[in-house]
């Protein structure tokens, strides 16, 4: 746990980087904007003072609500709220030990699982389909995300073309005034150390101009794109988040913003980033603590593992990764379910295991309710020493309190064996199959559906993946 003094020290160190070293924004209009507000600029490098950061912190909201097409699924970021989204951006699918290229069909499977899950609140675009050209795949993927579920989407925006798709599809869904409310949520990454690439700058400017939320998430890799030490990683990450915050608030004071981080150490043997390690959990905990300190919504952690099977290693690493941030009060978790092999692949079995894990952690985080009724002192007195509670009306009234449907085993060995003796991955596959069979697409206005189809499939050379029939 970081003390307030620790946090202030890290903040001061981050400010020193912003003031003395500066940050490169690889987009002249962004640099010009800083210059026009009196920031010191040298080429593409922008220097920020403590006063600039303080001014941004003074106007950024501590929470905001995203509104989607289903009012029951609006999502609040900040305060005590937790939003969990599924895996995002994986290129591969892991089945058994076999890793293969992800397809549109896999994307559809993942979205169905997300839609059916009671623990996944928000969609990430889970798979980058490799069975069609990249530009068409993007529009078709977005079409699947917007039609197969009415949960809000974390739009993956890596290029100005992606940004345009996000803006256009929002207009189709919500009309010309769509940006009167928070509709498009995206995660933008800095290019560590201390850079923002052109596409990121453009997205930040355009989205902030429409007052849409931005979750700025550096992914500093200790020893390669950042210092090797965890404290150094934290300082660099903090400086980059503050730089993004200052930019967004300059464009649009009061624009919703999420303090994100998914930085970790790298293996000094191979250079690979590691996410199943204690240092990652500590960094993610610290990320949330710093965001809390500044009263900003936070994004950190996830169901991340370096394992290549939904096995015990994966279980341990995911549970530690998720519990670390959930216990600290994180507001947004991307990659909450289904991601495996670091950030590279999706496993459907792991998806439903993670789904269960998120549900268990949500229950675990509830305070034990202390009241006359729940302490049941009079019931204990009535039963007295040596009695039993099974026939008490108090027991009858509360016997479903902790009854959560689960595919985790809770039965004795012989019963478990008679039911197939399945391990967790095999049970999870059965569970995934059942979820997929019960999937029903949510309703969507036929006119909007037709417009979305025309927009997303209109110029396709590859046959549309018909996830939802018009």
């Amino acid at each position: 746990m970081m003390t307030s003094d620790d946090i202030r020290t890290v903040h001061q160190a981050g400010l020193r980087l912003l003031e003395k070293t500066g940050v490169v924004f690889k987009h002249q209009p962004t640099v010009d904007l800083f210059a026009s507000h009196g920031f010191e600029v040298d080429g593409l490098r922008v220097f920020m003072t403590e006063a600039h950061v303080e001014a941004a912190l003074a106007v950024v909201p501590s929470w905001f609500t995203m509104e989607g097409r289903n009012p029951d699924r609006h999502l609040t970021f900040g305060g005590d709220h937790l939003v969990v989204a599924n895996a995002a951006g994986a290129a591969f699918v892991l089945e058994g030990t076999d890793m293969r290229a992800g397809t549109m069909a896999d994307l559809s499977t993942c979205l169905k699982l997300s839609h059916m899950s009671s623990n996944v609140d928000m969609l990430g675009n889970p798979i980058l389909p490799q069975d069609m050209p990249a530009d068409e795949g993007y529009r078709q993927s977005i079409h699947c995300c917007l039609t197969m579920s009415d949960k809000l989407l974390e739009y993956p925006i890596a290029t100005p073309e992606h940004l345009q798709v996000a803006l256009d599809t929002s207009e189709i869904l919500y009309g010309a005034d769509w940006h009167q409310r928070s509709r498009v949520f995206t995660v933008l990454n800095s290019l560590s150390p201390l850079q923002f690439e052109e596409g990121t700058c453009i997205s930040a400017l355009e989205l902030a101009a429409r007052n849409q939320p931005i979750c700025l998430t550096p992914c500093v890799m200790g020893g390669t794109t950042g210092p090797v030490t965890t404290a150094g990683i934290l300082v660099l990450q903090h400086a980059e988040v503050m730089a993004g915050l200052v930019l967004v608030q300059l464009v649009s004071p009061g624009c919703p913003f999420v303090y994100g981080g998914t930085s970790s150490i790298s293996s000094m043997m191979t250079g690979d980033m590691l996410v199943g390690v204690p240092e990652y959990w500590a960094l993610m905990t610290a990320t949330v603590e710093i965001a809390n300190h500044f009263d900003l919504p936070s994004r950190a952690g996830g169901g991340l593992t370096d394992a290549h099977l939904p096995d015990m290693q994966a279980g341990i690493e995911c549970a530690m990764g998720l519990a670390s941030v959930m216990r600290t009060g994180v507001n947004f978790i991307l990659h909450g379910t289904g991601i495996i092999s670091s950030f590279n692949a999706v496993s459907f079995a792991k998806f439903v295991i993670d789904d269960e894990l998120v549900g268990m952690l949500r229950s675990r985080l509830k305070r034990i309710d202390i009241s006359e009724e729940t302490m049941a002192v009079s019931v204990i007195e009535d039963v007295g020493p040596g009695g039993n509670f099974l026939l008490e009306s108090h027991t009858y009234a509360h016997c479903h309190d902790y009854d959560r449907p689960s595919f985790f085993n809770r039965r004795k060995h012989d019963v478990w064996l008679s039911r197939g003796g399945l391990d967790i991955a095999a049970s999870a596959e059965k569970r995934a199959k059942a979820m997929l069979e019960s999937y029903v697409a949510p309703d969507l206005d036929p006119l909007i559906l037709r417009q979305l189809g025309g927009y997303c499939y209109g110029h396709c050379t590859v046959a549309p993946y018909q996830a939802v029939e018009e």
């Binding site: 951006g89 591969f92 980058l128 990249a134 890596a158 290029t159 390669t224 043997m269 191979t270 250079g271």
Partner: protein
Amino acid sequence: MALLDDIKQNVEVGNRDAVLAQVQQALDEGTTAQDVLAQGLIAAMDIVGAKMEAEEMFIPEVLRAAKTMEAGLGILRPHLAVGDVKVQGKVVIGTVKGDLHDIGKNLVAMLLASAGFDVVDVGINVTPADFAKHVKDNDANFLGLSALLTTTMPMMKETLAALETAGLRGQVKVLVGGAPVNQSFADQIGADGYASDAGAAIKVAKELA
């Protein structure tokens, strides 16, 4: 020879000042530049390569050894004839279009250079057409493609297509690598080699040389 052994050990631990002094000393004492190179510098890097593969040396240690080796080579170079340094191959290396990440690529480039390859680093965000041009201009027989992002990985396939179109595919062995890349992806797009990390990349390149 004790001095060459010392050079070897000092390269391995990255003691630059000692290597610079000892390489000069060896030359002054009449040892040929070829012997200093083969029995001192290259012998050291062979050990470093083996230790990296055995997971006994970490990347920062390997890089320091490689830099030390290069420094020693700088002193030897005026004393070496053109044919004395065996060039394993000419490598063009870069990060594919849309991807601005270069640390992995830089690491592989440095290690390839220290393993005796002639390396031309063409940077980041390189279009398929530019890769083809660099291969042609440099008459390269290896092309190394790097991608960190799942979103830019498909650009490797397009780069291979550009080589094909330019009629250059036959002259270069294409090696691919980066966090999301794997052997089956490499096979699928028709690359000649894949390595999971920088140490392995050198091994694969040497095998294909």
